[in-house]
Structure formats: C-alpha cells, structure tokens
C-alpha cells in the first residue's frame, strides 16, 4: 500500500510544485488550439448547402432535438457507468503492481474474468443490440 502513503505524504504545497501541472495545462490547450487551427488552415474548403446543415450521421434531419430518446441509449449509458466506475479498482493495482507480483496479477485476472462474465451476459441478453 505504499502508493497511498505517497499520496498522503505530499507535504510540499508551495506554488512552485504546481508548475508541472501548469505546463501540462498550457500544452494541452495549445495542442487543441493548434490542431483545430491547422485543420482550418490546411484542410480543403468546399462550401456547399449540404455542409451547412445539421450533421446527423448522414440521415436527413426531421423534427425537434428535444424529444424523448429511445430507451436503448439509456441502457448503454447505464452499462457504461457501471463498467466505467469498476475500473477504479485498477488504480491501486496499477500503482503497486510490481510489489504485488504474480499473486496480484492472478487476482486482477480473476477480477477481469468476473467483468467479462458480466459483459458476456449483457451481450447474450441483447442489451447492446440497437435494432429491435
């Protein structure tokens, strides 16, 4: 459990210790800006009427967007929340997987195995098929 001790031990809280985070933030923002700017500058420009319309995966738009959504989206969202949050248990393993060794690896495999069982169940029940 050394990693948690590390987290707990952060004593230096002066502004200078946040410099790497600031650099990271600047880099992230700069990267996004550069990519968007580059594609706007370099990319080909053909202005047609179709391109100005709302993009809906190639389907012609109809009606208002504020409508009750199909329940399938909800199911996928719920399943995503479940599987997403379970990943939290990988954090402790990821930080000290060296000290846990093979025993820890087997335990994580077992954890992933139960995940896969749940996932297989979802697929078999047809929760992820969107066509009715």
């Amino acid at each position: 459990m050394t990693w948690l001790t590390l987290l707990l031990d952060v004593q230096d809280t002066s502004a200078a210790s946040y410099l790497p985070i600031a650099i990271q933030l600047i880099f992230a923002a700069g990267f996004v800006a550069a990519m968007i700017g580059m594609s706007a500058l370099v990319g080909p420009k053909r202005q047609t009427k179709d391109k100005l319309e709302t993009f809906t995966s190639g389907i012609t738009t109809h009606g208002d967007a504020r409508q009750p959504m199909a329940i399938k989206y909800f199911l996928v969202a719920i399943l995503f929340v479940l599987f997403d949050v379970e990943v939290i248990f990988f954090y402790p393993y990821a930080v000290n997987f060296r000290s846990l060794g093979w025993a820890g690896f087997v335990e994580v495999l077992m954890f992933v195995g139960f995940f896969l069982i749940g996932f297989t169940y979802i697929i078999k029940k047809g929760a992820l098929t969107w066509e009715d």
Binding site: L4, L7, V85
Partner: protein, 111 residues
C-alpha cells in the same frame, strides 16, 4: 488546515442532501441529493484519513495509518455507481408507466 473546517463543510453538504431528500418532490432531484450525502461522507473520510496519517507520521515516518479511510471511499464510489444504475432504471420504469417522475404519484399504496 484544521480538521473542523472539513467537518463543517462535509456536514453542511450532508445536511443539504438530507433537507433536499425530505423536501423535494422530483425523484431525480431526491436521488441527486442522496448522491450529495454520499459524496459529503467521501470528503470527510478523506479528510479524516489524512488527519490520522499526519498524527501517526509524527512518531513513525513509515506509518501506513489512515489508508483504510481512502480505500473505503473507493468502495463507496463503486457501490454508489451500482445504486445509480439500479435507481435510474427504476425511475425510468416508473416514467414509462406514469409519464412523470414526481413522487406525489406514490400514493396508490396508502390505503
């Protein structure tokens, strides 16, 4: 920072959650208030964990006292996720039948 600030903050959040659960009529908002309660406890757990660790650190530099508080937070988060999925499914199920998420609908069983 002294611990009492964390205690006051967490207890305020918790109380907001409790009052919300008791006064609001919308099932989704009640649910959000319950999540607020859970997250208030998460905050307090981490604060207490750090506090116990800091005290133990003074006498022993290799101490691991206080880590179990943070581990508890992990479990609360995962359980909360499971509750969210079940709870939202129940609310959606009710919405399909009544076309409302108002808990004033919940009066069929009163008599």
């Amino acid at each position: 920072m002294p611990i009492q600030y964390y205690i006051y903050l967490a207890l305020s959040l918790f109380s907001i959650g409790v009052v919300g659960v008791l006064t609001r009529r919308n099932a989704i908002i009640i649910f959000m208030c319950i999540e607020l309660m859970l997250n208030a406890t998460n905050l307090l757990l981490v604060a207490f964990s750090k506090m116990h660790h800091a005290v133990a650190l003074a006498s022993n530099t290799a101490t691991q006292v206080g880590i179990e508080g943070q581990l508890f937070v992990f479990f609360i988060m995962v359980v909360a996720a499971a509750e969210v999925s079940v709870g939202l499914a129940i609310i959606v199920m009710m919405y399909r039948n009544t076309h409302s998420v108002d808990i004033n609908f919940l009066n069929r069983l009163k008599n």
